[in-house]
């Protein structure tokens, strides 16, 4: 069943057009990767999906309903969560307060503080400290946990490996199968093709605001993606 789809999605920053007619779909419970170089439009696409950029109502459908242009807080209540690029934790809140903020939409579901602490035990030890005093990897865990606290049907993860050591990236990605086990679809945005294709079932490769290649990760060879990635 298709959970999220876009139809000829365009997005602009003022006069500058950043996305040119994106068509993609994500099925319930699926893992999808969006890959592309810096400036390809990956983050813009995510911002357009989660209500942070103005888009036409029919350009985005979620669970069969047109949701383009809805406010971000309405989309969260429908079950669309976002782990924003750069984590964007609330610096004046503790780890636990950050996680609790994620539950503001009061959606029922399997995720609560206890489950998040089971998934990331290190956060339980440090729950009383200021969120931004954690290491980068731990902060990323808080950001993912905060997104899960809304019990989403789809979680969008924007560059969750950015600025982290490879061994930490492995730890962060190791948490995602537990998320998918609850039936939640996961979309990851990645610059690292290898990381993205190891995790996801399908991928979309963006270049200059367009989808230039898409398919199943196991059916396309790495070089084809690499060429699309650089717009060759």
């Amino acid at each position: 069943m298709t959970l999220l789809s876009t139809h000829d999605l365009t997005a602009h920053y003022g006069d500058f057009q950043a996305l040119f007619g994106i068509d993609l779909d994500v099925k319930a419970g699926e893992a999808v990767a969006l890959v592309g170089a810096n400036g390809a439009g990956k983050s813009t696409l995510l911002r357009a999906l989660c209500g942070q950029l103005p888009v036409g109502s029919d350009q985005v459908h979620f669970d069969g309903q047109p949701v383009g242009g809805l406010r971000a807080d309405r989309l969260v209540r429908l079950g669309l969560a976002m782990v924003p690029e750069g984590r964007r934790l609330f610096p004046s809140l503790t780890v636990e307060e950050n996680l609790v903020m994620g539950a503001a939409s009061k959606r029922p579901g399997p995720w609560n503080l206890k489950r998040i602490y089971d998934l990331f035990p290190v956060l339980k030890e440090r729950r009383k400290v200021g969120a931004t005093s954690l290491s980068g990897g731990q902060q990323q865990m808080v950001a993912i946990g905060r997104g899960l606290m809304s019990n989403p049907r789809l979680i969008l993860c924007d560059e969750i490996s950015l600025g982290l050591a490879p061994v930490i990236v492995k730890d962060v990605y190791a948490a995602l199968p537990a998320v998918m086990a609850e039936g939640t679809a996961v979309v990851v945005v990645e610059q690292d093709i290898g990381q993205a294709t190891r995790f996801a079932e399908r991928f979309y490769c963006l270049c200059e605001g367009r989808v230039v290649l898409s398919g199943r990760c196991d059916a396309v060879d790495r070089d084809a993606i690499r060429q699309a990635y650089f717009g060759l």
Binding site: A72, D73, A81, F90, A104
Partner: protein, 288 residues
Amino acid sequence: MDWINVIIQGVLIGALYALFAAGLSLVFGVMRLVNLAHGDLIVMAAFLAFALVKALGLHPLVTIVFVVPIMAAFGYGLQRLLLNHTLGKGLLPPLLVSFGLSIILQNILMEVFSANTQRLQLGALEVSSLEIAPGLSVGWYPLLVLAAAVLFIGLIQALLYRTRLGAALRATSDDLDTTRLMGLDSRHLFAVATALALAITAIAGVLMAAKTNFDPMSGPSRLVYAYEAVIVGGMGSLWGTLAGGMVIGVAQAIGGSIDPGWQILAGHMAFLVVLMVAPRGLFPSSVS
């Protein structure tokens, strides 16, 4: 002994300034909104108390029970219907709109209550005092105002740092876009913050009405004291605001004891000195 007396009187009047300022500090801290109508809202609360005393014969301090919820509800509506629309478009729209609101409020108060100077009478409480040392006594009413300032600033502080609503307000102050990604409705949160701010402003207004004369045009001068207290204390720090109010109050008391004409000026001078020496205030909040 005279000097101690002067400083104590300054601290006590400063407590009232801190109450003036607490609402301003809260609103600025949460949504970076500079409300130029804040002084007129204080005076509006005072006139509400005045009207309740006239109409129902209530004791002035009992009117707080009614004025606080009325002002809080007014604050929620004001933020939701008017001030929210001025946010996110730069510094100027909230300034212009709240300046216009200030003029409108003054003129409505003038129309309804006339330009006469008013004051609420407290009877015996006004003149009774406590002798804390031989030759040194403080009025019970100023002490009550000080207690109210500490209590209500403490309550708001506890609400901000110990409740889920408080965490949401701090999160909004940190990063508005991301609070929306959490499913929080910032329009509602802002309105709640303004409702809280006007609840404490209502207390300030009623306590002021029984302490000093007021008229429909006295809002702007209250705004100036409130601003000075916020800036001296450090933007967005509530305990700093309490200290800031006291710095202004003590400076006024010292100025006034030298020459009555120096009272107001000395307060402004103290503000300017703090601004030159510590531009971020005495207790700047760690997150900025």
